[in-house]
């Protein structure tokens, strides 16, 4: 069946100037008969293809996207296609989470002399897209608002009692201030009993306000880059320390500028889970924790809950409860559990159970209520561009001001893509979201695939190179995608 007979679909091709564009030329000069659905965009190198190009095309209605570059070892710029291979393979693995069939995207290698091969590639890919049919449109997919609250069983004991070593921690911070640190980032009580808030402690009195416990949810690593060049300290939970490590690994802060204070963490709470246990609009009066039980007194009533009911998902699966890097570690480290064998991941488990179209509907339903405040970005310790985010520029115009699901989701894809291989899984993006949109799942999908392809986890080793910033000539874990 010839694709030429049917209606054309919208297929975008990003072709490297030196090989594949030449290959297409060769095919054309040889008058090879090819389908005409492909709209070609010439790029200097397949390494120039930002995965966001592909995502933007697919989100905005392309039925298929093809990237083609020089064969490995043939790159005009030596290594562009090696980087491209890693990024694009990862992208292909990422796509299903947002409900896009990964078969709608392909990357391949065609040299300038391979006119016949180009013809085969373009014919086969076009046939494949026609077999899939037009891509489902966001406008047409029914929005899903269901999102089961899953309480994943914790792989480790969770507790909410105050840490016995807290006085020791306070003393250590005071000592460090006395020794000349400008200040130390920590937590103090917030506006009510179930909220803590970050504090930049500069005096011993302020250090007395330092607390440690299940409400210390904020990842204080987010503040570190703004203090670059100043000697400060930061108190970290295990998860936070991964953020510090990643910032160090990326040279965004200097090791000699930051003093890291760690203490064993027994888990933190999810505020929405606590609030769900209370009647609406009730004034929270006090809160006590003991063992694994939290008692919230609100409106004159006691509400008891266990950490198993209210802990954050990340804490349930945390294998690094102690700082992975610290200068001062106070108290007994918390026992480190082994990673769960079954790769349980909250959020993704539900998404994985959905069909592709249902996943689109899921994101449509979730993103509809996004108010585009970008608190997710503000709270992300790895969003280091701060005032210079690409999503804010008009040129290039990655996102518009339109409040469509596509625009809002694309912002999330920018965030997730820019965190691929860098996200330490602190889930601050999701916690910060005032509308409680489960945006972390996108980063988690990248994280899962990076683990699968590159066996890499971010934030564990100051000297590690993130997998997308390097390559191997032979990639044992990436199989060739031959379209010819």
């Amino acid at each position: 069946m010839s694709v030429l007979a049917g209606k054309e679909l919208r297929i975008v091709g990003f072709l490297c100037n030196w090989c594949s564009y030449g290959g297409a030329d060769t095919a054309g000069t040889a008058r090879a008969v090819q389908p005409t659905d492909l709209r070609i965009i010439r790029v200097p190198c397949s390494g120039r293809v930002n995965p966001l190009f592909v995502l933007k095309a697919l989100i905005n209605g392309a039925d298929g996207v093809l990237v083609s570059g020089c064969h490995p070892r043939d790159c005009h710029y030596s290594a562009g296609n090696y980087y491209a291979r890693r990024r694009l393979e990862l992208l292909k693995e990422f796509l299903p989470v947002i409900g896009i069939n990964p078969d709608r995207f392909e990357y391949t290698w065609v040299s300038a002399s391979e006119g016949q091969r180009w013809k085969d590639v373009v014919t086969n890919f076009t046939n494949r897209i026609h077999a899939l049919g037009p891509a489902p449109r966001w406008e047409d997919v029914p929005a899903r608002y269901d999102r089961p609250e899953e309480l994943i069983e914790s792989i480790r004991p969770l507790g909410c009692g105050e840490h016995p070593a807290l006085p020791e921690l306070r003393q250590a911070v005071k000592d460090a201030l006395a020794e000349g640190l400008e200040g130390v980032l920590g937590w103090k009580k917030g506006f009510d009993a179930v909220h803590a808030e970050p504090v930049f402690m500069t005096t011993p009195e302020e250090v007395d306000s330092l607390i440690w416990g299940p409400f210390n949810v904020h990842n204080l690593a987010v503040y570190l880059p703004q203090y670059k060049g100043r000697k400060i300290g930061v108190v970290v939970k295990g998860c936070d320390s991964k953020g510090v490590v990643e910032l160090l690994a990326e040279n965004l802060i200097s090791r000699e500028d930051v003093k890291i204070f760690g203490m064993g963490c027994n888990g933190t709470v999810s505020l929405p889970r606590i609030l769900a246990k209370l009647p609406e609009g009730v004034k929270i009066e006090s809160c006590t924790g003991r063992g694994n039980k939290i008692t919230v007194t609100a409106g004159g009533q006691d509400y008891e809950m266990t950490m198993a009911e209210v802990a954050q998902d990340k804490c349930r699966l945390c294998t690094k409860p102690n700082a992975v890097l610290s200068d001062v570690f106070v108290g007994t480290p918390t026992t480190e559990p082994a990673a769960p064998a079954d790769g349980r991941l909250p959020g993704l488990r539900f998404l994985d159970s959905l069909s592709l179209e249902e996943r689109m509907g899921y994101w449509k339903g979730q993103m509809e209520r996004c108010i585009a405040c970008h608190a997710c970005r503000g709270a992300c310790p790895m969003c280091v561009c701060r005032d210079y985010c690409v999503s804010d520029t008009r040129d290039p115009a990655w996102v518009t001001q339109e409040d469509t699901v596509q625009q809002k989701l694309f912002f999330q894809l920018i965030h997730a893509q820019h965190l691929a291989g860098r996200c330490t899984g602190c889930t601050e993006c999701e916690r910060a979201c005032p509308m409680d949109i489960p945006v972390f799942a996108l980063k988690q999908q990248f994280g899962r695939m990076i683990q699968k392809i590159f066996s890499y986890g971010a934030g564990l080793d100051v000297n590690a190179t993130p997998p997308l910033l390097t390559y191997q000539v032979e990639e044992p874990t990436i199989k060739e995608h031959d379209l010819a």
């Binding site: 105050e162 008891e304 266990t306 005032p434």
Partner: protein, 459 residues
């Protein structure tokens, strides 16, 4: 016009369902853990659980009048047949507003529209888009049954049953709701509704209103706020200190019922494009960045200074002393780092650079913080002297207290196997609680001083 009508929950939802036939009915709906205003159809409203319709929305209902993004105009150009470089451009103005019922907003939200009316409708230029929607919308407000920890409407001249800005105010009473007609628009909306007279329930309504007001923090004792906030303007060190933890994300501005700022951008091309108006936030650096690269508010301290000053100094200066804040507390409760506008205003007004860890809290709070296993009695006394009674965070806050007898590992160990048992225990509490844990609980509720004593005793 203050006639009272009674509606059962069923009456109310049927009424809304009927209205939905010729109105856009916006009502709160639970989505995930958040509550969102959505247009609801008659069928949905008829089957909606009344409790779901009574929840307070996570983001303010501002979007009913001022959508997150709207098209100000569309433009199209036609090329001249003779000379294609010549274009004829026509503009189209899509300014229309459909009749709308905004159901279930809170008194603070309704007052938010009054705050927005001043810049949008009462200045030299009137905003026709906002004006058309405002005109076409009837606001049906729910009197708050109680205050959240973050509520402070009584700081800004309001209370939980304030009628300002509402067309109908309804109050939940035993067996249903009492609706009070506030404006002619509200009266018109109720025409044809078959609700019973409820003049005899006035006392019940009053009781609910009073009970709700009692749950608020004590009223602000701050005086001369606009002048004092203005005087704080040049104290940049103050604003820097207050915004140390601010992430500059702007969530506060988008959730706020009174934040009025927007941006205008073009999309498409001259041949076929549109001019959009969308929410913007004064917390982002781009808001005031000039093309020359100059920015009058380059850091988060200056931006927060503008936000607070706008609400408590600039706006009152321009509009007869009214604050551009209705005390809904959304910016407090949804801030990723719990920045507290009450605290900032108070600190700005009272002339001291406050460290919230010390002065912003009532007497018993700092005491409890020390409730640890080591020498609890001595430690309890120490920090109590820094209390400020009318503090903005007058909510008695307490940290999670120490587990005196257990090391972290021990505490953890205790947890592991007993999940189901505990769930049962918490369901049946407090009757099944052991005497010891009972002491613990009641102590936790009264003052932390006694709670730490009880802990000491127990140990």
């Amino acid at each position: 016009m203050s006639s009272l009508l009674f509606a059962t929950p069923k009456d109310l939802t049927s009424w809304l369902a009927k209205l939905a036939s010729d109105h856009r009915v916006l009502a709160p709906r639970q989505e995930g853990p958040s509550v969102v205003y959505r247009p609801r159809t008659a069928e949905q409203l008829a089957s909606d659980d009344i409790d779901a319709l009574l929840r307070r929305a996570t983001a303010s209902p501002k979007q009913a009048m001022l959508p997150q993004c709207e098209t100000l105009m569309t433009f199209k150009s036609v090329k001249d047949a003779e000379d294609p470089s010549k274009l004829t451009t026509t503009l189209e103005n899509p300014c229309v507003a459909e009749p709308t019922v905004l159901f279930g907003c809170r008194p603070c939200d309704a007052r938010g529209f009054v705050v927005l009316d001043r810049p949008y409708l009462e200045g030299k230029f009137k905003d026709p888009y906002y004006g058309a929607r405002r005109e076409a919308t009837v606001i049906v407000t729910q009197a708050c049954p109680s205050a959240f920890s973050s509520c402070f409407c009584n700081w800004v001249g309001s209370h939980p049953s304030d009628k300002e800005g509402s067309d109908i105010l309804f109050t939940a009473v035993e067996g249903g709701f009492v609706l009070e007609v506030v404006t002619e628009k509200g009266q018109a909306l109720l025409e044809g509704a078959d609700f019973a007279d409820a003049s005899d329930r006035a006392a019940d309504v009053e009781a609910v209103h009073e009970a709700a007001a009692a749950t608020l923090p004590s009223p602000s004792t701050l005086t001369d706020v606009p002048a004092k906030v203005a005087a704080r303007f040049t104290d940049i060190a103050f604003w820097e200190k207050e915004t140390v933890k601010c992430l500059s994300c702007g969530a506060c501005t988008y959730l706020c019922p009174t934040c009025q700022c927007f941006t205008i951008t073009d999309e498409g091309s001259q041949l076929d494009g549109r001019r959009l108006r969308s929410w913007d936030s004064c917390m982002t650096p781009l808001f005031t960045l000039e093309t020359s690269g100059h920015n009058p508010r380059p850091t988060k301290a200056e931006r927060m200074r503008n936000r607070i000053s706008h609400k408590f100094s600039f706006y009152p200066e321009r509009y007869d002393g009214f604050f551009s804040c209705v005390g809904c507390g959304r910016c407090v409760v949804s801030c990723p780092v719990s920045l507290d506008i009450r605290h900032m205003v108070k600190a700005a007004v009272e002339g001291v650079v406050l460290d919230a860890g010390k002065s912003g809290e009532p007497a018993e709070v700092p005491a409890s913080e020390k409730a640890e296993e080591k020498a609890p009695v001595e430690e309890v006394k120490a920090p109590a002297e820094v209390a400020v009674p009318e503090a903005p965070t007058a909510v008695p806050t307490e940290p999670v207290e120490a587990v005196p007898a257990e090391s972290v590992e021990a505490a953890a160990a205790e947890v592991v196997p007993v999940e189901p048992v505990e769930a049962a225990a918490s369901a049946a509490a407090p009757a099944q609680a052991t005497p010891a844990s009972r002491t613990q609980k009641s102590a936790g509720r009264t003052t932390s001083r006694s709670s730490s004593k009880s802990k000491a005793k127990k140990r």
